[in-house]
């Protein structure tokens, strides 16, 4: 084999080796388009929630990552119908934006459904999945159904209205309501609800930039600073694609949260985000001071303990384990009282707990479990691990060296 061929083989081989660790991630088929947050209303209308469609009664309507699924009772028959992106293969009907997937559904139901979808779909846009999105719902704060203090009557009724919107998944509307409410009355858990709804909208980089610009324009408005800080924090946590981007956004979060602190020094959530942003930037001492203040102010907020567990994971693993156990206990109670807690987060906390117990027993190394870097849309990602990159280069060098030696030996043969 000649030199170039050997080199080409070596390059291909090394590329394959380098790609191997990423293969499982690449195997997960990510949809090209997903349903944006806050589309519950339009989904219910398209599926005819609470209505009869061609003689079939609509049952549940659920939004998944890339489809809207509804069940219909057509006499004794139960059928499941899903709305997917119109480019998905195997659909029974298509509209301008959707394809209808249905097995065994009567044709009149499909026709009626298609007609209704065509009427409603004008206000719907598919979006590309956020880089790093693993399909799990955002890491939202647990929501207590009760305000943390007695609110004046008109505020309390709007709070309840906002909570209903939040529970119905109408996050954009809830956010607008809680933002308005917080500007008048930030105490009593209103800021906590504002955070929960803001996190549920999964702020994009553009949204963070817009909020930051708004905050810069109104340096005396603590609410604008708070919103920009929280949005930057959630963007870093949920969507930061590498350590650099995460650090950049945690720095941004700190910038605005620090500005909001004098006005909102009663709010545990502010100290939670300050603490976690500090911790993820390596400021251990500042993080510890801030999280203790958060626990002091918000002892009934499970997230305060969750975040304290993160901050002490390397300094005091036993304390971290105790805090995670407390988090689980508190969220169980909260759910029993009608609160909203992301089930995926509870499941994750259980896994974290197992991991930390294994670390405590000395069976595992302490990994980055609270704020991992997303895999992103490209399977092969470098730049996050210098050692891996250097080893990759050394492996390439070794392959090239072996290839040249083999080539030289073959040429030397008589």
């Amino acid at each position: 084999m000649s030199g170039p061929r050997l080199l080409a083989s070596a390059i291909v081989l090394t590329a394959l080796v380098a790609a191997l660790p990423a293969a499982p991630a690449a195997a997960q088929v990510r949809p090209r388009f997903v349903i944006p947050p806050g589309r519950e209303g339009i989904a219910s209308r398209m599926m005819g929630l609470g209505l009869a469609t061609a003689g079939c009664r609509t049952g549940d309507v659920a939004i998944e990552e890339a489809r809207i699924v509804a069940t219909y009772a057509c006499g004794a028959q139960r059928v499941e119908v899903a709305l997917v992106h119109r480019d998905v293969a195997g659909v029974a009907r298509t509209t301008e934006r959707f394809g209808i997937v249905a097995e065994g559904a009567p044709a009149p139901l499909l026709d009626a459904l298609a007609a209704r979808v065509r009427r409603e779909e004008g206000g719907f846009e598919w979006i590309a999945p956020t880089p790093g999105w693993d399909g799990a719902p955002p890491d939202i704060a647990p929501v207590d159904p009760q305000p943390t203090m007695e609110l004046p009557a008109p505020i309390a009724s709007r709070y309840a209205e906002g909570l209903d919107l939040y529970r119905a998944g109408r996050h954009a509307e809830a956010l607008a309501l809680f933002t308005e409410l917080a500007s008048e009355h930030p105490r009593g858990g209103v800021l906590g609800m504002l955070v929960a709804t803001l996190a549920s909208t999964r702020p994009s980089a553009e949204r963070v930039e817009a909020l930051a610009r708004a905050a810069d324009r109104s340096p005396d408005d603590p609410l604008a600073q708070f919103l920009a800080g929280v949005a930057a924090h959630y963007y870093a946590h949920e969507s930061g694609r590498d350590r650099w981007e995460k650090e950049r956004y945690y720095e941004t979060a700190l910038r605005y949260l620090v500005r909001a602190r004098p006005a909102y020094d009663f709010e545990a959530r502010l100290f939670i985000y300050l603490a976690v942003s500090h911790f993820r930037l390596g400021h251990q001492d500042e993080a510890e001071v801030a999280i203790e203040r958060a626990v002091e102010l918000g002892g009934d907020d499970p997230d305060a303990f969750y975040c304290r567990a993160e901050i002490f994971q390397r300094r005091d693993v036993a304390r971290s384990i105790a805090d995670l156990e407390r988090y689980l206990e508190m969220t169980r109670r909260l759910v029993a009282e009608g609160g909203v807690v992301a089930a995926s987060k509870q499941e994750r906390v259980r896994r974290m707990l197992e991991h930390l117990r294994a670390v405590q027993r000395g069976e595992e190394r302490g990994d980055e479990i609270f704020d991992p870097v997303g895999e992103g849309p490209v399977a092969l990602r470098f730049g996050q691990d210098r050692a891996r990159f250097a080893l990759g280069a050394l492996a390439c060098g070794l392959v090239v060296l072996v290839a040249t030696k083999i080539g030289a030996r073959r040429r030397a043969r008589p």
Partner: protein, 577 residues
């Protein structure tokens, strides 16, 4: 960053990693090739020159950021690699991989460059010897590359063209080896006739060294490895693809008649494919720079100015950057027919000057024209040996050598002039030492955000990584951020550096009088109490490379612990610190 751009970045990183791996084999091979390029006497000169280069770059020359503070940002970009820096992934990938072993500090990059710069000396010598077929030319090239101030300063700096030059020279040496082997393999055996160039005097060609001319037929390892090195070099800076391509073309033209053109075409195609992600990346970066009006030179109006700029903005023709005696020797080599194959070096020399015209100012000409200076030096080495052979009188030879050596002095004086940027580096290091043991504090330093809208060209890069975790215990913030919500719950320090006295001015604008104190630093002074941790009054070196500073004879810099001011600001001027 769109998924497409992310994919492009990953492709660049992957290509750079593969090529970096190949370079680990290719570069030693290129160096080994040098062994057969010299006789005993000339080899000793080359080894001595390489050792002198090592000493000059590692022990004598000051290790300094030569990019007017941009090296601080460059270090951070190389540490993370993603997103790929605007320059490309080649050199960044090298530093990134080495950061697995070396500390996160720009000093790491300066040391790597110093070593790579010394490594370039035998490679340049080998190339000159092979192309000129004269080992003496190679030896002279080794000496010149080792000692000329323009190379010494560049190699002891953060310049990202240092790895580029080492890889390019290695690639050219291997390309020449392939061409030499192919030619030797096609040399007619006894009884045959053909048009074949003679092997270099006092050296061995692979054909003559082998047992038979045909033994090397099909040996394409040097070509493959050379292609990898050239592609890696091409991915190291935006303009590198055309400079490297011109250099490779010059070597091919110098080695005519070319045997096995098909293999050469395949290699060129492979290199092209490998450079495609870099080219796309550069095109995008150029678009972004144009959007920000940061690339004013890239316009059609530049074309008529090219002849003027080739003279006015050309480090090779500037006696304060490149010795006029060496430039004269290069001109002699081009003028005299005896230059032979070396004359083709004019091609990369010209391309390497023209390529930088769209983005060239006084601040970077001494750095970005180093590749051009290198090709001029190779020509000059040939010019020197020609002069030696033309002039038999020892006195005249000594006079010529003396004149060349004397002509080095102006460039040594200019290139190693003390600068305010170097002073800034020493003050930053002192601050680092002063705060080394401290944890949980805030370090306030100036940043781009502190500058007004009409002042976006003053480089505010700062080595935050020396103070932030994991290296230090600071939270580093800008003046604007700190002043908007001063937090004194933990110690707060303010770094008063050179940038407090710097504001970019276009060339030809008059320097402001006095200290040129910037408003954001003045505001800090007015608003807070300053307790010096250390304070240094340093001479103001003025605008050596870039127009930033005022005309005050000295400036006071330092690190201050700051505290809230309980009283109205003192009317004392800032100089009274």
């Amino acid at each position: 960053v769109s998924p497409a751009e992310e994919g492009l970045g990953s492709a660049q990183a992957l290509v750079a990693m593969l090529l970096l791996g190949a370079s680990l084999v290719a570069l030693p091979r290129a160096l080994a090739r040098g062994r057969s390029a010299f006789g005993k006497d000339t080899r000793a000169i080359v080894i001595a020159a390489a050792l002198a280069a090592l000493v000059l770059r590692c022990l004598v020359a000051p290790h300094e950021i030569a990019t007017v503070f941009i090296g601080y940002r460059w270090t951070e970009q190389c540490w993370y690699l993603h997103p790929i820096p605007a320059y490309g992934a080649g050199a960044a990938a090298l530093y990134h991989a080495l950061f697995a072993l070396l500390p996160f500090d720009h000093a790491s990059i300066l040391w790597v460059n110093a070593l790579l710069g010394a490594l370039a000396v035998p490679l340049a010598a080998s190339l000159a010897s092979r192309l000129s077929r004269d080992p003496k030319t190679g030896a002279v090239a080794a000496v010149l590359v080792a000692i000329l101030p323009i190379f010494v300063r560049n190699d002891a700096s953060d310049a990202n063209n240092v790895p580029l030059i080492a890889w390019m020279l290695g690639g050219l040496v291997l390309l020449e080896e392939h061409l030499d082997r192919a030619r030797a393999a096609s040399r007619p055996r006894p009884g045959e006739s053909g048009d074949v160039a003679a092997p270099p005097r006092g050296t061995r060609s692979h054909g003559s060294a082998g047992s038979a001319g045909g033994a090397d037929r099909g040996e394409r390892t040097p070509l493959a490895l050379g292609t990898a090195l050239l592609a890696l070099a091409a991915c190291s800076r935006p303009e590198a693809p055309i400079v490297v391509a011109a250099a490779a073309a010059a070597v091919v033209l110098a080695s005519r008649p070319v045997r096995e053109p098909r293999a050469l075409a395949v290699a060129a195609l492979c290199a092209l494919v490998l450079v495609v992600p870099h080219a796309l990346h550069v095109a995008r970066a150029i678009g972004e720079l144009e959007d920000r009006d940061s690339l004013p030179g890239l316009r059609l109006g530049l074309v008529p100015q090219i002849p003027f700029l080739l003279v006015a903005r050309n480090a090779v023709l500037d006696p304060t950057l490149f010795p006029i005696g060496v430039a004269g020797l290069a001109a002699l080599a081009l003028w005299k027919r005896g230059a032979g194959r070396m004359r083709w070096m004019w091609l990369p020399l010209l391309v390497a000057v023209v390529a930088y015209l769209p983005d060239l100012d006084r601040a970077n000409v001494a750095r970005v024209h180093v590749p051009a200076a290198l090709f001029a030096t190779l020509l000059a080495a040939r010019g020197a040996t020609l002069l030696w052979s033309l002039e038999p009188r020892a006195a005249m030879r000594a006079a010529a050598a003396g004149a060349v050596l004397i002509s080095i002095a102006p460039s040594a004086i200019q290139l190693f002039r003390p600068t305010n940027e170097a002073t800034e580096e020493s003050v930053i290091r002192e601050a680092e030492r002063s705060l080394g043991a401290e944890h949980g504090y805030t370090l306030v330093r100036t940043a781009f955000a502190d500058r007004p809208e009409d002042d976006r060209h003053t480089h505010e890069h700062f080595p935050d990584y020396l103070f932030r975790p994991p290296a230090g215990g600071a939270r580093v913030v800008s003046v604007t951020d700190f002043a908007s919500a001063p937090d004194f719950s933990r110690p707060v320090y303010f770094y008063w550096g050179m940038r407090c006295h710097a504001r970019f001015r276009h060339e030809g604008t008059r320097a402001p009088g006095g200290e040129n104190l910037q408003p954001h630093c003045a505001r800090m002074r007015e608003r807070f109490l300053f307790h010096p941790v250390f304070e240094r009054t340093v001479p103001n070196r003025g605008d050596v490379w870039i127009d930033y500073y005022g005309d005050a004879p000295s400036l006071t810099l330092g690190l201050y612990r700051i505290a809230p001011r309980a009283e109205p600001p003192s009317p004392r001027p800032p100089t009274a610190r």
